[in-house]
Amino acid sequence: MDTTQLLKGVLDLAVLAVLREEDGYGYDILRRLRDAGLAEVGDASVYGTLRRLFAAGLLTTYVVPSESGPHRKYYSLNAAGRDQFARSGKLWRSFATTMDTLLDDRGRAA
């Protein structure tokens, strides 16, 4: 099992977490995820996830003119997105705790 496989399940939550700090555009969000330690996150995965979350009504977008190059599409969490983040966050914590416990018990036995 590698990080890529794990990421598939939690990328939504990771993107929501990054956007909860601050709005961002595609490449900016990708960089912040990488800086946070998710080095193996794929470019296309992040862009695709942003589209899906937007289509699900969890994000809003707005365009910011850029002095160099084309305008940038910024994403921000809306109310539904914040709700989703809270629920997914809770789910993840409980899941992670379960996994930790599992690994600790089995790890001691091994």
């Binding site: 990328l11 555009y25 595609g26 490449y27 794929g42 470019d43 296309a44 995965s45 992040v46 862009y47 695709g48 996830t49 589209r51 899906r52 289509a55 190059g69 084309p70 940038r72 599409k73």
Partner: protein
């Protein structure tokens, strides 16, 4: 458009191609900030976009899965598109694998270096095509116009420079000039290949400079002609004519003492082909050599007229020739009666 911009445009086009089965609105939405993203990636990291992000088709699959749009509405051409994409990806893999032994990241990168060479070749081919179109007869490997090599070389230089400039020019947004250029390139390549094949064929039967003189290729091996009269005597200064009165020229004087033969010719013609047969009496296959003091006949010997007897019959030598079929007799030559 810079190389990077071309690379980005190509990458975007292939990603969009791989998403061809999606409704246009969804596809546009998925790829709308792809060019900008690729531009940033190209600036921040070395190597090609493919090295950094993987094949565009793989990128499209990842995008599709992450966006949860799945296969979407598959048009009839979907299967075909998928197949084309698979072939494309396979070719790209091959491109990289074969490039490694050459010492380049891809074969394409290696071929890219050869493009200026093609521009020069294209100029040369264009000049040769003009030569071919304007020439009435044969031409060589250099362009000529009206048999003027200098003019040909000037045109060659001009066309090579024009071809290089055309190659360096950035491709315009309109497609029809590019199609026209492609058509022209294909035409020149075809012309070049045909020329190459012709050159290769010419190598085989380029047999000598007097080949065009010979009557027929069947007589190519004939180097000299020996005429014997009814007495079995070698006729010197014999001339052959066809039904139109045109001289029949066979062979070429290539014996060692050809200079003696020519100097012996009182006509003094500079062209040894104008003297009679045989060119090299010493090489006669049968019998003794004709006496060398035989005076040459008057040069034009039109058919129908009769030679004076003394000239028509060479003097009989004392030794008899050793021709079995026609043993010479010592009888005098049959006299010729003039016929008006």
């Amino acid at each position: 458009m810079t190389v990077t911009e071309q690379e980005i445009a190509g990458y975007v086009a292939r990603v969009r191609g791989a998403l061809n089965d999606l409704p246009p609105s969804i596809r546009d939405e998925l790829t709308e900030d792809l060019p900008e993203h690729l531009a940033v990636v190209a600036v921040e990291s070395g190597g090609t976009l493919v090295e950094r992000l993987g094949e565009p088709e793989a990128y499209a699959v990842e995008l599709r899965i992450a966006a949860g749009v799945g296969a979407g509405r598959r048009p009839v051409t979907g299967e075909l598109t998928a197949f084309v994409n698979r072939v494309h990806a396979r070719l790209n893999t091959l491109d990289r694998q074969l490039g490694r032994p050459l010492g380049y990241p891809t074969v394409r990168a290696f071929l890219h270096l050869l493009i200026p060479g093609w521009w020069i070749l294209r100029g040369y081919l264009a000049a040769m095509l003009l030569t071919f179109l304007s020439a009435d007869d044969g031409f060589g490997l250099l362009p000529r116009f009206d048999d003027n090599l200098q003019l040909g070389l000037m045109v060659l230089v001009a066309l090579v420079v024009a071809s290089v400039m055309l190659g360096r020019r950035e491709p315009g947004p309109r497609t029809w000039p590019r199609h026209l250029l492609l058509l022209g390139n294909l035409l020149l390549v075809g012309f070049g290949l045909v020329g190459l094949v012709q050159l290769e064929n010419r190598h085989g039967n380029d047999d000598g400079y007097y080949a065009p003189i010979s009557v027929d290729s069947r007589y190519d091996h004939i180097r000299d002609v020996f005429v014997y009269d009814t007495e079995g005597q070698l006729v010197d200064y014999a001339r052959l004519f066809d039904q139109n009165g045109d001289p029949i020229r066979l062979g070429y004087p290539d014996c060692d003492d050809v200079r003696d033969v020519i100097s012996r010719d009182e006509v003094g013609s500079a062209n040894p082909l104008l003297r009679g047969y045989p060119y090299c009496p010493e090489a006669a296959p049968f019998g003794p050599r004709p006496t060398t003091d035989a005076s040459p006949p008057d040069l034009p010997a039109p058919p129908g007229t009769v030679q004076p007897e003394s000239a028509a019959t060479p003097t009989v030598p004392e030794t008899s020739p050793t021709v079995p079929e026609a043993p010479p007799t010592s009888a005098p030559a049959p006299s010729v009666t003039p016929t008006g």
